[in-house]
């Protein structure tokens, strides 16, 4: 159905006049997200500021047959919040940003979906507790977006990802009815585990209106280390060795030689540009002594596996310095060329050397610049292609290279995406990773919850 003046008036009555954006210039600023994809300008942008208005907005949009794309901060890298063509509307949840409860006794919090991740983490920390999921975008991303994409982060290996912290939620279904699932208790077996289903749903099953999130006590001590390698296989053996020693670092990050060179060129921080790879390792825990012992063991493993150098940070300042290389990885790559295509292929951690070798081979084949960094502990790599999207021919080569990388990742028993999501970018690949039956099953499920296929229809499964 088309967006008529009468319909606009109805939306205005629900969310308030100023919260229905109809001007071309306003709508154009909701046509994109952080994925390098063609923008689609929405027909309307609706900004509910109360729970009640959110439900009514969903209902009216759905009843009117308008394709709906929910948007938090629009930082996802898969096109999951790019509006649908043909009168698609955006429902923006960033103004639903109240932290409703932080319960220190029962270790949970209740929030609205628009709360920014870092603001939440800080509020929780101020109460002496810890919310571990820390996507690189946490200073901007919303918790709703995190849940809808099951966002990961640097701490994934030890602390898990967003879905591991979702205890329950309230969702508006396609009729604008409020659905509740999960609870404030650690144990809960009533009903289906719908919160799990909703984690990673990419706005295709319903609209979150409230989230119950698990909190944990913070670690009391931590140690950070940096190890250099002349051979990426040795770095990989180190990762295996650390896990085999029954140590689970909270972060175990990896930069390849290309990335190190880009960071060094950009920051002149004195990084080892000859190194084939560096590992950045942090261990944490509840006791200073235990953490120290773990750190010593990690250093031992690094040496045994043939690292050329390993350093442990002596104080907070040195720790910050060690992490600077990782923090600068994306900025350094992003500054090198106009367009940055940040990929997300993930393989079992033992296959990282094969994956990195394949990425570099593919980049050479397509004459492209690439740097690979990522989460060595969980095999989640970010091969990052550098290009200029205005150069159509070059960009076609990037697309071909990315396709080939997916093939390799699947061949290594990996997955298309570890944390960035499927969205529009990778929907066509879903069948290759799974099979036809999986797609059909998912679509049946989806049709039951979204009979008119209006929730982010072009995303996730085609």
């Amino acid at each position: 159905m088309a967006v008529t003046p009468a319909l606009i008036t109805e939306f205005r009555n629900i969310v308030g006049k100023e919260n229905v954006l109809t001007e071309e210039a306003d709508r154009q600023t909701y046509a994109y997200d952080a994925a390098v994809l063609t923008p689609v300008v929405p027909a309307l942008v609706l900004v509910p500021v109360t729970q009640e208005a959110l439900g009514k907005t969903v209902k009216l949009a759905y009843d009117s047959g308008l394709p709906i794309t929910v948007r938090g901060s629009g930082t996802n890298l898969s096109g999951a919040s790019i509006p649908e063509p043909g009168d698609g509307v955006v429902i923006l949840t960033n103004r639903l940003d109240k932290i409703l409860e932080i319960n220190e006794q029962d270790l949970y919090a209740v929030v609205e979906p628009g709360v920014v991740t870092a603001r939440f983490a800080a509020a929780v920390a101020a109460r002496g507790l810890f919310y571990p999921p820390d996507p690189g975008s946490q200073s901007v991303s919303t918790l709703g977006g995190n849940v809808a994409l099951n966002a990961g982060g640097l701490r994934g290996l030890k602390y898990g990802v967003t879905k591991d912290y979702v205890m329950g939620m309230e969702i508006f279904d396609y009729r604008g009815e409020l659905v509740k699932t999960g609870s404030r208790t650690v144990k809960c077996v009533t009903g289906y585990n719908m919160a799990a289903l909703m984690s990673c749903s990419e706005g295709t099953l319903g609209v979150f209106s409230r989230l119950i999130l698990k909190l944990v006590p913070p670690p009391k001590a931590s140690r950070a280390m940096l190890a250099e390698y002349d051979d990426i296989n040795k770095a990989s053996e180190t990762v295996a060795g650390i896990i085999a020693a029954h140590i689970v670092p909270c972060t175990l990050e990896f930069l390849d030689n290309n990335t190190i060179k880009y960071v060094e060129a950009d920051t002149k921080a004195g990084l080892p540009v000859q190194a084939a790879a560096v590992l950045l390792i942090e261990v944490d825990g509840g006791h200073e002594r235990m953490v120290e012992e773990d750190a010593a063991k990690v250093v031992e493993v690094c040496k045994k596996c043939g690292c050329t150098d390993v350093r442990m940070a002596k104080n907070a300042e040195e720790k910050l310095k060690i992490w600077e290389a990782r923090r600068n990885a994306l900025p350094a790559l992003a500054r090198a060329r106009p367009t940055t295509v940040l990929e997300d292929a993930t393989v079992p951690r033992s296959r990282i050397p094969e994956m990195v070798a394949a990425v570099n081979r593919i980049a050479r084949k397509y004459r492209l610049e690439v740097g690979t960094f990522g989460h060595a502990g969980d095999g989640n790599l970010h091969p990052t292609f550098l290009c200029d999207r205005r150069d159509k021919e070059e960009f076609r080569r990037v697309e071909a290279a990315v396709d080939e990388i997916f093939d390799v990742a699947l061949g290594l028993q990996g997955t298309l995406s570890g944390e960035h999501g499927i969205g529009m970018a990778k929907a066509k690949w879903m069948e290759k990773e799974t099979n036809r039956a999986t797609i059909e099953f998912s679509k049946n499920l989806r049709r039951a919850l979204d009979p008119k296929m209006l929730f982010n229809a072009g995303k996730k499964f085609l």
Binding site: A25, Q28, T29, V116, S139, P331, R390
Partner: protein, 437 residues
Amino acid sequence: MPDTATESGTRNVKRLASMLLELDDLLIACMRCGFCLSTCPVYGATMREGDVTRGKIALLENLAKHMISDAQSVNDKLNRCLLCGSCQAICPSGVKIMDIFLRARAIVTGYLGLSPLKKLLFRGVLARPKLFNSLLGLSSALQGLFIKKTGGMETYCAPLLQSFIGNRHFPPLAKKPFHSRAPSLNIPAEAGKPGVAFFPGCVSDNIFPAVAEASLKVLQKHGVGVFMPSGLSCCGIPALASGDRPDYDRMLRNNLKCLRGASFQYLLTPCGTCTATIREFWPMLADDYSPAEKEQIRELHEKCMDISAFVIDVLKVELPAASNGGPVVTYHDSCHLKKSLGVAAQPRSILKSLPGFSFAEMPEADRCCGSGGSFTLRHYDLSTDIGQRKRDNIVSVKANIVAAGCPACMMQMMDALSRNNDKIKVRHVMELYADTL
């Protein structure tokens, strides 16, 4: 408003688009990561994508590619920006955002024509310092007639001006501006001490002459030679922000003329905004200047420095150890000082050393206060919302005094505090330091 794009037809839209295409290389660097959403004060107040850099860059791209025909609405969005530089400071992709905004404003405004009010302000007044000063002198004499005192502070609410500037609690113009007391200066340096040129800046000159005087006292107490020519104009940022390149160029050239030939090692200002303009914007927009002018701009870029940075980094003044107890001083990081110039530690060391005061760090000390020249005039409600967050942060540490290194921020914070009836003083770092000398 003069003709808009729609009325002037497609030919003009095309011309605008081709000028904008020149910006393309700068615009393409934005990777749409959205990190600017986390620091932009305007976005923080409205939560609208069109108010933040990522949205503005998308619109400029669309304008350049003829994907949007309504240049006026893009211009309106561009103007909802304080040019505070917060976004540029955190942009992982290194997008030259200030460069983009200033060029785009110049292009779009040149195209749409200045509003009559701006024309009056910039063409006629700011560019001719003599006229500017006498006009302000006149209004300073007149304002007592129609401005009534409110609140506990030395700020006034102007019912007559209200329709134009909202319900603003602004400080009155000084009875005697700094330049009428000190039209020009040429104080020799003590042996072994550096000689500097002093650039007071419009706001210190006309609204806070005490800031300029405190700065001079500090310099003299430390034996620094001070040169200040007469006839300096505004640093040009208000004109630049309005996209008025012709008047900006006139002011810059006048300043170059006043400073030409004089010998000094540093150019000091007590205003973060002036320092950032001289150091960053002057060289950035010097494409059309003569080689000699470019060279002078480059020299001034190297010599220009914030005064508190000068006290700490150049004079290496030995400060007494931090004292405890006494009234609480907190510090607001002016965006231009911290984000453009990296000046953050120096003013804090000065404040921490003040005898008889205790220093408290406020939350979000480096979040923009919402002051932005004509932004404040045009988007007063928005500016007030942004100021309120700053005010809440100041109050949260139970401050008695809030210090800053930029008179424009001082005005904004006075306004925010006064409208909440807070009895918190706003002072320049140099004023507090000068009191101890």
